[in-house]
């Protein structure tokens, strides 16, 4: 593909000049030789405006020789009878070079614009990142600070139940902070390639079991796991896949009602292993189904829920990619979101 576009720069002049010549040839008898030269100019201008100087010089030279060969008497020789005809070559070259240079300038300008756009995009991403990170880190921190200093105030004698209630909320804020910081660290490790997967044979359930063990009992009870008993093992990085499951479970639990179930399933599809996590929440807006895997992306629902730094699914996607697998989001009936992971056969035993 790339090779073809690169070669087009040199192939197209040859093709177009040949076509033009074929087109002009039947009318050779009706016009004087000079007029035919003019007819090659649009071809030169066209090539020059698309491919720049090098291609247009090639076109100009080609045009001159074909014009010379087919339209300059004596026909079918490269003999130049009249030195003034060399002027045509000069004009061809001049037009080609001037237009070609102009094109190059234009292209350079476009490229500069594109670079600028990319930079602006990166800047926007960066500022999104900084604002979401500082929001995600500062919100629980602010809440911890407020709660703890409140407990420390001497104007109220807190009874144990009250104090415990306050401390429970501190604990959940700290969990949230821990998750956010973990995401940031994992993401930078993945970005810098310093988190290579170390694959070994594991069962899906084995990884899920240890992932779930880290969840508080109350949330764990909302998770229903339905794995076939004879699910094959797969070759995977335990810690990385556990990270993926943690994100998917966390999201499913957060984005659906407190009493609703989160279901985890898996299926042996012969050449692949399919694993999914689904919730009974409102689902993901159709327009966001792919965007949710982008880094720092926070969906419309992020306003309503404590949504983290917007890296969880990006990290998951990166990990699944390194396992040569696929991951996507879909909505289910009557309502809910489902994240599906496909792991390829080479990794399955």
């Amino acid at each position: 593909m790339n090779l073809l576009t690169k070669r087009a720069e040199y192939l197209l002049p040859i093709i177009l000049i040949s076509l033009a010549t074929l087109l002009f040839l039947p009318g050779r008898a009706y016009f004087a030789k000079g007029q035919w030269a003019l007819l090659y100019l649009p071809v030169i201008v066209f090539i020059a405006s698309r491919y720049g100087v090098k291609a247009s010089v090639l076109t100009a030279v080609l045009a001159f020789f074909t014009w010379n060969y087919f339209f300059l008497p004596p026909f079918h020789t490269l003999f130049i009878d009249d030195p003034k005809d060399l002027l045509s070559l000069l004009v061809f070259l001049l037009v080609g070079i001037v237009v070609g240079l102009q094109t190059a300038k234009l292209k350079e300008k476009e490229a500069a614009q594109a670079r600028l756009d990319a930079l602006r995009e990166a800047d926007k991403l960066k500022s999104n990142f900084i604002s979401s990170v500082s929001h995600e880190l500062k919100t629980p921190l602010a809440s911890v600070m407020a709660t703890v200093t409140n407990l420390l105030e001497k104007d109220i004698a807190w009874n144990e139940t009250e104090a415990r209630g306050e401390l429970e909320s501190v604990r959940s804020d700290l969990d949230r902070l821990n998750t956010s910081i973990g995401s940031l660290i994992d993401f930078s490790r993945l970005e810098s390639d310093s988190w290579q997967s170390k694959k070994a044979w594991y069962g899906v359930g084995e990884i899920l079991g240890s992932t779930l063990a880290a969840f508080p009992e109350k949330r764990r009870q909302r998770v229903e796991i339905d794995l076939p008993n004879e699910l094959p093992q797969m070759k995977a990085d335990f810690v990385q896949l556990s990270r993926v499951f943690q994100t998917l479970l966390e999201n499913a639990l957060v984005y659906s009602g407190e009493k609703s179930k989160v279901r985890v399933g898996a299926q042996d599809n012969g050449d692949r292993l399919k694993i999914w996590v689904q919730d009974e929440g409102p689902g993901i807006p159709e327009a966001e189904l792919t965007a949710v895997f982008k880094k720092f992306y926070r969906g419309a629902a992020a306003e309503k829920f404590p949504s983290g730094v917007g890296l969880g699914l990006a990290i998951a996607a990166e990990i699944i990619k390194s396992h040569q697998g696929k991951i996507w989001a879909e909505n289910i009936k009557p309502h809910g979101a489902r994240i599906v992971i496909i792991l390829p056969k080479e990794g399955i035993k």
Binding site: N178, D186, K198, V204, G209, L212, A213, Q233, F238
Partner: protein, 231 residues
């Protein structure tokens, strides 16, 4: 729980003052005696002076570092050593265990998690005299004397190897056992590298004893390290 007149002595080693403070607070509230060191050299000196029942040590220490300190301590110290690690460091964990640590705990941890590890390690060193005849974990009852296992009152048929693995794990609850340790204990030292065999037997064992065969609740995998029995 420990009795006040003979409360275990714990040496804590960390260069971060906040962590030392938190550890001290959690442990002394449970009537453990606490001695604190800020680096490896100090830890070795204090371990010689106090002969603690347990050492809790951060793996990252200024100077000679946690792993090296652990190795030096192991020259003569026979009590349990618990390492504090960070999540991303699987290799560090393995190096810590190889250098003689008995277990590790990932930061940040809750007081409950810390105390569970501390009790598990202290229990192990005091185990010799009080080996229980049966162990219960959820629906699971393991009768060590008669080599019988029941799950929700239903007798489970285990092979000799499976029972040996289970009883070794269950006698060390909440404690990581490396694949090497299990292989040595159940099969013998010459089989210590045969991790594939262990995985096969482990998978059969899990199918028999776990309430949901596909998702373990009792025998948890510690990736790249080994297994941990959770009651």
């Amino acid at each position: 729980m420990s009795t006040p007149e003979k409360s275990p002595k714990i040496l804590i080693v960390d260069d971060e003052e906040q962590i030392l403070r938190a550890l001290k607070s959690i442990l002394s509230a449970r009537k453990y005696k606490v001695v604190a060191a800020h680096n490896g050299e100090e830890a070795i000196d204090l371990a010689i002076d106090h002969n603690p029942d347990l050492i809790i040590m951060d793996i990252v220490l200024p100077g000679i570092g946690g792993v090296e300190t652990c190795r030096e301590l192991r020259g003569w110290y026979t009590g349990p050593i618990l390492m504090l690690t960070v999540k991303s460091d699987e290799e560090e964990k393995i190096r810590a265990l190889d250098s003689g640590a008995d277990d590790y705990l990932t930061k940040p941890f809750s007081a409950g998690e810390l105390l569970a590890r501390v009790r598990a390690l202290l229990r192990r060193s005091a185990k010799a005299m009080t080996a229980p005849a049966t162990i219960s974990a959820g629906d699971l009852t393991i009768d060590l004397a008669h080599r019988r296992v029941r799950c929700a009152e239903v007798e489970i048929d285990l092979t000799r190897i499976e029972f040996d693995i289970l009883s070794y794990l269950a006698q060390n609850p909440d404690r990581v056992l490396t694949s090497k340790m299990i292989l040595e204990k159940v099969w013998g030292p010459e089989y210590r590298d045969d991790t594939q065999t262990l995985r096969v037997h482990m998978s059969h064992l899990r199918k028999k004893i776990e309430p949901h065969s596909a998702v373990p609740r009792h025998i948890m995998t510690e990736p790249g390290v080994g297994f941990r029995f959770v009651i």
